[in-house]
């Protein structure tokens, strides 16, 4: 392994509620993250609605590893490494499509939709009759895969706990995003992809528990009208929940944020689907949750957005992956999610609200990424990398709420950093191999 003096001082800082700025632009840490973190975590790859039919596939990534996520003729979803077993060529070089099988352009080995090797050209002449064991030469399946509510995940660690166990208590909260309607979610369109000079951890740190930044970072979007909050500090009177591997934020008083602008019939359907404890939040003036992050790099956002004065604000929802490309460089994948059984007008409105708020052209997204890149670039400085960042917000000030019906520790304010501190504890303990 690399420099043995790398991790202990960072761990010590995190224990004291601090963080050295250098973690956001460190090639050494990046290599460790790939090996010890991304290769051992449950990584979100795709949503089942992206591959609805037999033969449908998408190409997806875990850090540098490319995978084919496909649906076979028996309707089973597979996640296999996109590397030919002969010389390693990518057998799939497109982002999405429908195929009968995958045929490698180099020497023509052919793999079935589930990755099984089905043909080797000139096999008898070149290898001898029955000399190649096809069963052992299929595309490599991801060591572990799992699907929860249509969300397809993979883990490169064969010894990892199951997806269900990993999600654990986070499911109580992820329900709010994924279980609003009978038919569940679908991806509207395709994920938008773009590359930013910012570290993936800054994005995760923001979505896991940064209710604090909105009044200044997103001030222009309130002024121009796309963010329909009464004031920019709409998460001040909120709730932040910290789990070991998950953090989430709710608003409380802002009336629009309470329903996130879902129309009454959809709110009524949610009440039917959510369990009584979940419904009790809605009865006690707590909003549907807005921002969240599942460790390591899957974020959620559900919020209202305004795109026209002719219609009320519409709720939009996005899932996003902060795919690490290099130290300080991230590819953002942003999915616009809608309820599959919602009326077409709702989907349209939700899409427009998403577009003006998040994604490549989203006005809130723009200002978020601008912050992250302006932290990442200076973070490699000799002096700056040692700068100790303050992560003490709420520490010693707030106690966990004792009447909160959900799992984890809930704090009666979203202008606080409990979920961020939990994220960093999880991050460092993962790099320590714990």
């Amino acid at each position: 392994m690399s420099n043995p003096n790398l991790i202990p001082p960072i761990a010590e800082a995190i224990n004291k509620g601090q963080l050295p700025l250098g973690v956001f632009n460190s090639p050494e840490l990046f290599e460790l993250e790939k090996e010890l973190l991304f290769a051992k975590s449950w990584n979100f790859l795709a949503h089942e609605s992206e591959i609805p039919n037999a033969g449908d596939y998408v190409q997806r990534y875990i850090a540098d590893d490319s995978f084919i996520v496909s649906r076979d003729k028996e309707n089973t979803v597979h996640v296999v490494l996109n590397a030919c077993r002969h010389r390693g060529r990518k057998v799939c070089s497109v982002e999405k499509g429908n195929a009968r099988n995958f045929s490698c352009p180099y020497h023509g080995w052919v793999y079935d939709l589930d990755g099984k090797l089905i043909d080797v050209p000139y096999e008898e002449e070149g290898y001898g009759k029955n000399a190649l064991n096809h069963d052992e030469l299929g595309l490599m399946p991801a060591p572990k895969m799992g699907i929860w509510r249509g969300m397809i995940f993979a883990n490169l660690d064969a010894n990892a706990e199951s997806l269900d166990d990993y999600l654990g208590d986070a499911k109580w909260y992820m329900d709010f995003y994924t279980n609003k309607s009978e038919a569940g979610l679908e991806v509207y369109g395709v994920p938008q992809r773009w590359v930013v000079d910012a570290d993936w951890k800054l994005a995760a740190d923001n979505f896991v528990g940064d209710g604090y930044h909105t009044f200044i970072t997103h001030a222009s979007t309130i002024q121009a009208g796309m963010l329909p909050a009464q004031s920019g500090d709409f998460l001040l009177d909120g709730v932040q929940v910290a789990l070991e591997h998950f953090g989430i934020g709710f608003a409380r008083q802002d009336p629009l944020f309470n329903s996130l602008a879902y129309p009454p019939p959809m709110m009524a359907a949610m009440r039917q689907r959510f369990n009584p404890e979940q419904v009790s939040l809605m009865d006690n003036g707590v909003s549907l949750p807005t921002h969240a992050n599942l460790f390591p790099n899957l974020s959620f956002l559900n919020a209202p957005g305004t795109y026209t004065s002719m219609a009320p604000p519409a709720p939009y929802m996005t899932f996003r992956i902060w795919r690490p490309l290099a130290a300080g460089k991230t590819e953002i994948w942003s999915w616009c999610m809608v309820e599959k059984d919602a009326p077409e007008e709702f989907k349209q409105a939700s899409y427009k609200a998403y577009l003006i708020s998040f994604g490549t052209s989203g006005t809130l997204e723009q200002d978020d990424a601008e912050n992250w890149s302006q932290i990442t670039l200076p973070a490699k400085g000799t002096m700056a990398s040692k700068l100790s960042l303050n992560y003490s917000m709420g520490d010693g000030l707030l106690e966990p709420m004792d009447d909160w019906p959900g799992p984890g520790n809930a704090y009666p304010l979203d202008f606080t950093e409990f979920a961020q501190r939990a994220f960093w504890k999880k991050w460092i303990s993962t790099l320590e191999g714990k």
Binding site: V94, E95, V190, Q223, A224, I356, T360, S361
Partner: protein, 168 residues
Amino acid sequence: MSVTDSLFREIEAFIYHEAELLDNHQHNEWLDLWDEQASYRMPVRVTHTKRQKDQEFQEKFGHFDETKEMLGMRVKRLCTSTAWAEEPQSRTRHFVSNLRINAVDNGQYELKTNLMLYRNRLDDAGHDLLSAERHDVIHQVGGEWRLLKRTIYMDQATLGTLNLSIFL
């Protein structure tokens, strides 16, 4: 249908003027060039095999899918002092070329242009370079040219720029 030389020059001048307004950050003046029925779209492009190339551009899903009102909200935001992604502003240069004009019914003209967009920010010596083909529909309102429609076909599936806080 082809157009006369003088009309070609007139439309070309309009398109150059539009690019100049963007490069000068004259966003309100730029917005005025748009018809009330404006449609400004940039479909998301997905890498497909040649056989499935007809699905390359998402019809229903874009990086932009704007009405005039949405463009107006974006411009309004850029005019505030807290639109951080454009504070300080991007330095852009819209290189517009390969103009092709096709006259259609109702006094409307379909234009195709190639766009090379240079973008530089802050004190960084590097730049983002975005390339696209634009399909526009223009017509005249009260003797002035107005943009009715623009569809931007990017030459990238994964966009190589921090955000789309600029217009193409």
